[in-house]
């Protein structure tokens, strides 16, 4: 057995971690492959509904508005544990919460209660090419998680200053959702592309710059946490396999090159956790963005190496490794690209 070093956490985080781990083992692990093959399955819906018990359907909404009132770090703890079993479900919940966050921060009670009473997850249309003018939304969002069957879409106008946060009903006239995206990873967060043709908003919140930043920050942190969960899973599966598999006259765990690869996976996990803890403690955009860039890269490397340690078996669905590799890549491809993040990082440092 190899132990993934735990970091010292306050009691409440530790309890949350255990609860989330239990939920993931019970509700996500058994169906994870099925959720990936058939994201429309009723079992997936059920598993997501049960995430309510963890407060994951309104995790970032303050208690007085009926939410789970988690801080960013607590949210990451839960996502990491869920991400280890089904990164796709974790991503679906992350996007749902990131969509709610602007409503929560602006105390938009009506929007929050509408989302709370819906039977589907909210969708965040971002990034995109969306204009809000004259009380109408026009434009398109080429890739939005949870879009396939969402009752509510939260979006940020782009191009115009200041930013407006807009809430749109998923069934409005003029909103076309195309789900023909053929996602490679994070499939339970069924994505779609959205075309807005003169869509009338249900709610509009002006001066949304701050809200957009907050929403992006939580997306970055959450994806970093999910990638860390993937890395943990990849490590423990690869380690166990290496202890079982004999090749070249010994268990492959005895081969130094395998040990270097596994050691590197551990190093990545440690690095991710340190970065996430630090970035959660800051309200700034930059640390969250950097954490996302580095942590998802570590997650991808861990998943790819995990497949490699499994050899041919890792490439086949039965072993559950190849899904980690597909999911990890998707954590890295959303909500922006690493180079765009680097350019933004420099811009931020210049404007400060």
């Amino acid at each position: 057995m190899a132990r993934i070093p735990e970091i010292k956490e306050e009691e409440r985080y530790r309890i949350l971690r255990e609860t989330a781990r239990d939920y993931a083992a019970r509700e996500l692990a058994p169906g994870a492959e099925q959720f990936d093959l058939d994201p429309a399955s009723p079992q997936l819906k059920e598993a997501i509904t049960k995430a309510e018990s963890l407060g994951m359907l309104s995790a970032l909404v303050p208690e007085e508005l009926g939410g789970g009132d988690l801080d960013a770090y607590a949210f990451c703890v839960a996502l990491e544990e869920m991400g280890a079993e089904s990164a796709g479900v974790a991503a679906a919940l992350l996007v749902h919460n990131a969509a709610q966050l602007p409503l929560a921060l602006s105390e938009h009670r009506e929007g929050i209660s509408k989302i709370a009473s819906a039977s589907t997850l909210a969708c965040l249309a971002h990034p995109g090419e969306l204009a809000v003018s004259g009380g109408e939304v026009n434009g398109r969002a080429p890739f939005a998680f949870n879009a396939a069957e969402s009752s509510f879409v939260i979006l940020f106008s782009s191009g115009g200053v200041p930013v407006t946060v807009v809430m749109v009903s998923g069934e409005t006239d003029g909103l076309e959702v195309s789900t023909d995206l053929h996602q490679m990873g994070l499939r339970p967060a069924r994505a779609g592309s959205l075309q807005f043709n003169g869509v009338e908003p249900m709610a509009t919140i002006p001066q949304g710059d701050r809200l957009q930043r907050a929403s992006e920050r939580i997306l970055h942190l959450g994806l970093a946490a999910i990638a860390t969960g993937i890395a943990k899973k990849a490590f423990s599966k690869a380690y166990d396999y290496a202890c079982d598999r004999y090749q070249a006259g010994s268990k492959i765990i005895k081969h130094q090159q395998m040990r270097v690869m596994l050691g590197e996976m551990l190093a990545g996990i440690e690095e991710n956790r340190a970065m996430i803890a630090r970035a959660c403690a800051s309200e700034d955009t930059a640390p969250a963005m950097v954490t996302w860039m580095k942590a998802t890269r570590n997650g991808c490397k861990a998943a790819i190496d995990g497949v490699q340690i499994h050899g041919g078996y890792g490439y086949m669905r039965d072993y559950g490794m190849e899904r980690l590799m597909r999911d990890a890549k998707y954590c890295q491809m959303y909500p922006t690209t690493d180079q765009e993040a680097l350019l933004k990082l420099l811009e931020l440092s210049e404007s400060d």
């Binding site: 053929h182 490679m184 006259g249 490699q308 086949m316 597909r326 765009e340």
Partner: protein, 490 residues
């Protein structure tokens, strides 16, 4: 002779491989033969592969048992199934047999690596027949492949080496000593009884003939490793399942089950116990370069789709107009070019070795007598006898030298892992720069990324290939010995 005008694809090929342009000045017909093969592969891609690749990949995720027979039927039109068969036997393999194979692999896999693999795995299945000098079967099996192909009917082969508990171990003699071998070919009256299981056999579900590596005594694999020719209709042979792979799905990875399969003595390829060299090391030494070419094709496919994506306006501007995207494109193209250099070094070295054996006048003279005589019972009896095998082996020994095959193994292993690593880098980088969007190009590159991963695993993991390079080139602990009339070879 009338000089054929080069097509656009042909010109581009010479730009990508300037060394071929130089060689063409000395040997126009030889190089033009290769160019023709690449042009054919490009046409096959355009007409048959490209229109179905994405849908087929998706369908086979839901139905892994499905197989698109059209892949192989259309391949017959271009005689892709004869690529590894020497011209003296009616095939396409000539002076540049390994290079032509590698270039064709790159071309086919630049469109769909699964479809490319379905074609390439067949040639891998053919190679032990050639390397072991099993002339008796050339007249039956290879003849059948060539003749049926002309009628548009694919007869395909597969190569079965990997076992459930021995993957890396069956690719390296030092490890084979300690391997947990499950498969055994027990000697019985008149032949061998094969029992055991092979797994992850590319093309194994569709193959009519399978070249199988097995020990006649599984407690002594080093001394008794042998190669057998198995017909799928032999009693006790079955293919119980195929895998659900992450990529390269168009070609099944099959599990093959042998339950008391009786293989007559005539169907052992080479001598009993010479399988490490004939059935394993020479085959792998020859084929690892083309596997590098498969990876190169995947990287090139990703590059081309990324380029198409970069040229498509998004939010009113084209990504390619940004400096960073231009730089990334250059890096990807550079990785593809480096990969090409790696596999070309291997394939040219391979040509130099096998050209002697398979295109020499001495070799061709064996085929001067009419086929009716060659394929007659007494002749095939002679070829199958120890005298006959010694005769063919003497010719081979004359052309295929130990140190050359050892060097070829080094070059092939180097090409295999380097090209595979490049393919993962290029496909990963392309996705990172594209991000999640709704373009069809992203879907193609995602397929390339999934396909690329397998090239780091099959034909020996990249770690094993690094070891093979170390052992053959740096540590010099592995020296391949080609079996001769009086020795088994190691």
């Amino acid at each position: 002779m009338l000089q054929r005008e080069l097509s656009e694809r042909g010109k581009e090929l010479l730009r990508d491989f300037p060394v071929l342009a130089t060689l063409r000045e000395h040997d126009r017909s030889g190089i033009d033969g290769m160019i023709k093969m690449v042009e054919d592969a490009a046409e096959y891609n355009r007409l048959y592969s490209e229109p179905i690749a994405l849908e087929l990949d998706e369908r086979m995720e839901a139905e892994p048992d499905f197989f698109e027979h059209e892949i192989l039927e259309k391949a017959c039109k271009y005689r892709f199934l004869s690529m590894a068969i020497p011209s003296a036997l009616g095939g396409l393999a000539d002076k540049y047999m390994v290079t032509a194979m590698a270039l064709a692999c790159e071309e086919l896999c630049s469109c769909c690596a699964g479809i490319g693999l379905a074609i390439a795995a067949h040639s891998l299945g053919v190679s032990p027949l050639l390397t072991s000098g099993a002339m008796a079967h050339w007249e039956t099996v290879l003849y059948e492949i060539v003749e049926e192909e002309k009628k548009g009917k694919p007869v395909v082969m597969a190569y079965a080496i990997t076992e459930p508990s021995a993957g890396t171990d069956v690719e390296e003699p030092e490890f084979l000593k300690m391997a947990d071998i499950g498969m055994e070919a027990r000697k019985v009256d008149g032949g061998y009884l094969l029992n055991g299981r092979k797994c992850f056999i590319s093309g194994g579900s569709e193959a009519k003939y399978i070249t199988v590596c097995a020990a006649t005594d599984r407690t002594r694999p080093m001394e008794t490793w042998s190669t057998f020719l198995v017909d799928k209709d032999m009693e006790g042979f079955s293919c119980p399942r195929v895998e659900l792979k992450m990529g390269q799905r168009a070609c099944h990875a099959a599990e093959l089950l042998f339950e008391d399969v009786f293989v007559p003595k005539s169907h052992i390829l080479g001598y009993e116990g010479d399988g490490i060299a004939n059935g394993m090391l020479i085959v792998l030494a020859a084929s690892r370069g083309p596997v590098g070419a498969i990876a190169t094709g995947i990287a090139r496919g990703a590059y081309e789709h990324f380029l198409a994506w970069a040229r498509t306006p998004c939010n009113g501007k084209r990504p390619i107009d940004e400096e960073r995207i231009k730089m990334a494109l250059v890096d990807m193209k550079a990785a593809v070019q480096q990969s090409r250099g790696m596999y070309l070094s291997h394939s040219m070295a391979g040509d130099a070795i096998f050209r002697g054996a398979f295109t020499s006048p001495l070799f061709k003279s064996m085929f001067l007598m009419p086929r009716a005589i060659r394929a007659s019972k007494p002749m095939s009896g002679l070829f199958n006898s120890d005298y006959g095998k010694a005769m063919v082996n003497t010719i081979f020994r004359f052309f295929i030298k130990d140190e050359e095959i050892t060097d070829l193994m080094a070059l092939g292993s180097l090409a295999k892992f380097s090209c595979a690593d490049h393919a993962m880098e290029v496909t990963s980088r392309a996705l990172e720069l594209m991000g999640a969007d709704d373009s069809i190009e992203r879907r193609w590159v995602e397929k390339c990324y999934r396909d690329a991963k397998l090239t780091q695993i099959y034909e020996g993991t990249n770690q094993l290939n690094r070891l093979a390079f170390y052992d053959t080139r740096i540590g010099k602990t592995l020296n391949i010995e080609v079996p001769g009339p009086f020795k088994r070879g190691v």
